[in-house]
Structures are given as C-alpha cells and as structure tokens.
C-alpha cells in the first residue's frame, strides 16, 4: 500500500477497554491529522481469529510499524493467523507507552 514509506498498522482494540482511551484517541487523532497513509483496524485479535489475509500481507511486506499492545501478544496473534512477523518489526505498545512516545516513534520513522 505504501511502497515509498514504512507501512503503519494501527489497532483500535475496539472491543475491550484495556488500552487507555486517551492514548488511543490521541494517537488516532494525530495519525488522521498527519499526512501519512495508514491502515487502521478495529481489533487485531478479531482479525487473528478470522485469519484475515491482511495479516499475512502485512507480515510479508516486512516494512511495517504496528501500533497496538504488548509485542509478545501481537507477534503470536500474527502467528496464530498463519502470518509470521519478521524479526525486527517495530511494535509500539499503547498499553504501556504514552501517546507522545508512540507518535514520536512513528513520525521519526516516517520522516
């Protein structure tokens, strides 16, 4: 989708309240207001259970930043969907990191 730059995959974790609401709202708002293209998905867990082919595409593209939750959880959610994330994929954790830190990491790579 974004051959010129690293792809961004944002998970909204729409069906649970485990990610602080203010963090995900801030990250989503700033992403939407920025000039970067990105993919926003309602819930990575649901996609993994459905074995959504998009996960395989993301994993195969390799050059991706994932904005979701704990890296260990994200990695094995992809594996469960038959999509192995390559080593070194950056996974930003909105459960632990502040919106500022997450956005800084995204914009640093995108610029």
């Amino acid at each position: 989708m974004m051959p010129e730059k690293c792809r961004i995959l944002y998970c909204h974790c729409a069906y649970a309240r485990v990610i602080p609401a203010e963090v995900k709202q801030e990250v989503l708002t700033k992403l939407a207001e920025s000039d970067v293209s990105f993919d926003a998905v309602p819930d990575l867990c649901e996609m993994s259970a459905r074995r959504d082919p998009k996960l395989k595409q993301v994993a195969e593209s390799g050059d991706v930043q994932i904005v979701a939750c704990y890296p260990r959880a994200v990695k094995w959610l992809f594996t469960a969907a038959g999509a192995t994330l390559p080593e070194g994929v950056e996974i930003l954790n909105m459960r632990e990191q502040s919106a500022e830190t997450v956005l800084h990491s995204i914009l640093e790579v995108q610029s």
């Binding site: 729409a14 069906y15 485990v18 926003a40 309602p42 259970a49 459905r50 998009k54």
Partner: protein, 283 residues
C-alpha cells in the same frame, strides 16, 4: 457462536489523485466512528494503485468530476462530500447490507494465544479445557482451534500452563496479557498451579469430589444448606485463585457432563502426545 470467516469489508478514505482533501478534524472523526463500529479503514493519499484490493473494498472520498481510472471491479466508490460521521456510517452500513457482509463487532474477541517460544506441547491446556477451544495440528502441535468457544474474561487455562505460554491479549494483568515473563511471574504462576493441585489434582476432580461429598452429606444428614455452602466455598476459592468469572462457573455443565468432557479432553491430549512420540521415534 462462530466467527465469520467470510470476507470483511475494507474501507478506504481516499484523498489521492482525482479527489479533494478532507478536513483533518473531520477525517479523525470519520476514522473513530468507523473503527468503533468494527470497520477496517485505510487512509490512502497516493494514487489508485495504492488502494488495497485484497477484500471487498468501499472507497470513500470527495471525488472530482473526472474520476481517475484503474479501479478494480470489486472496488466501489461513494462520495462523502458534506457528510458527517453518522451519515458516512449510514452509507457504509447500506453498502455492507447490499453486499451481504456480516455485521462486524458481534463477538468480543476473547481467546487464548499460544507463545510457541515458551510452549513445550505438554497438552495440559488441551486436557484442561472443557470447551474444545484447543486442538492438535496434523503434526501433533497444540493449537487454538475454536476461538469462539472460549468463555469471555476467563483466563483459567493460562493458569494451568506450567510455562506461562498462554496469553489472553485483552486480560488486565501480566504476564497473561502478553507482557514479558520474568522469574517472579514464573514462580507466581507455578504457585497458582500448585493451588489447583491442592484442591485435588485438577479443578474438575475438585469439583467432582466436593460434589460427591456434598451429595453424601446430603443423603446422610439431609443438610441441603450445608452441602450447598460447601460447594459454594469450593467454587469461590477456585473463582478467586484462577480469576474465573462467576458467569463461567455458573454456566458449567452438570458434574457428570464435566466428568465426561474432562475425560474426553484427556484422551485427546494423551493421543496427541502418543502420536507426537511415535513421530519422534520414526525420525
């Protein structure tokens, strides 16, 4: 309940060639509204070729009179000039209904995820789970096969995993939520396994034994209240130690059914282990 395996609807907010830009604040509102309703949305600022085409795709945009060519047949366009988030949502819902794509968000995705770096394929989870969430792959590897059978908010199987290899990404606490596992976590988790062992080997045995004792007492003393109290104490203890929601315990089948399912699960686990061993011997 089963997870819909059919194609999901992919939405694109298109602001590339042949379209006018959307006000950033409005763009943010659109994303929020669509995501909250369970739709995947991609923001595309490039050309038509960069629009994802892996699923049924609905492209939303403020298009110029001359639409750029090159759209694939399964990609549909809808103009959203002047529409607020609720109205755009109506447009999307209508399209979803026309294309017979299932309504998203009907299922809260709660299920175990296996960390294969830690998993030793011991099959304890398979023999523990009464709801057929786990299964075995053709090559004898434990797998989560029936995610929608899992009981929402119940992380009990992760408690019996000796390797802390079972995650529930939406769980409140670590390391079950996917946080890194440290030595303290390992010790704490093994203590929890020991607690279930203290209750009589496994919790189903405990439930069975307690129930049998309660029945026996009931027949001897006809003390219904005392029997019920015993059973409640046992359930409360399990509920507290393993963080099992009350609704899950309340929804457990009869003791006979539990026994039958537990036995069946154990047999499946034993067969899987035997098959894996036989496979190893071949090698």
């Amino acid at each position: 309940m089963s997870v819909s395996i059919g194609p999901a609807l992919q939405l694109v907010i298109y602001e590339g060639a042949g379209s006018r830009r959307i006000d950033p604040v409005r763009r943010g509102e659109l994303f929020r509204a669509l995501l909250e309703k369970g739709y995947a949305v991609a923001s595309v600022r490039g050309d038509v070729a960069s629009v994802p085409a892996e699923a049924t795709t609905l492209v939303l945009g403020q298009f110029e009179k001359e639409l750029p060519g090159g759209w694939e047949s399964r990609i549909q366009l809808r103009a959203i000039d002047g529409l607020g988030a609720a109205e755009v949502l109506d447009v999307v819902e209508r399209f979803r209904a026309e294309t017979e794509i299932p309504v998203p968000g009907k299922w809260k995705p709660w299920f175990p995820v296996i960390d294969y770096k830690r998993c030793t394929n011991c099959m304890q989870c398979l023999s523990f789970c009464l709801f057929d969430v786990y299964g075995v792959s053709k090559d004898g590897k434990i797998q989560v096969q029936n995610q929608t059978n899992c009981k929402t908010e119940c992380p009990a199987c992760s408690r019996v995993c000796p390797e802390v290899a079972i995650l529930f990404p939406k769980y409140r606490h670590g390391p079950i939520h996917g946080g890194e596992v440290n030595a303290d976590d390992l010790r704490r988790e093994s203590m929890k396994v020991d607690i279930s062992a203290l209750l009589g080997g496994d919790i189903y045995s405990a439930l069975r034994d307690r129930s049998a004792k309660a029945k026996s007492r009931f027949s001897k003393e006809r003390d219904e209240d005392r029997a019920l109290k015993e059973r409640l104490n046992c359930l409360n203890k399990l509920q507290k130690e393993m963080d099992i929601p009350g609704e899950v315990l309340a929804a457990l089948p009869s003791v006979d059914e539990i026994r039958a399912r537990a036995e069946a699960a154990k047999v499946r686990a034993q067969n899987a282990l035997a098959a894996a061993e036989a496979e190893e011997l071949k090698i």
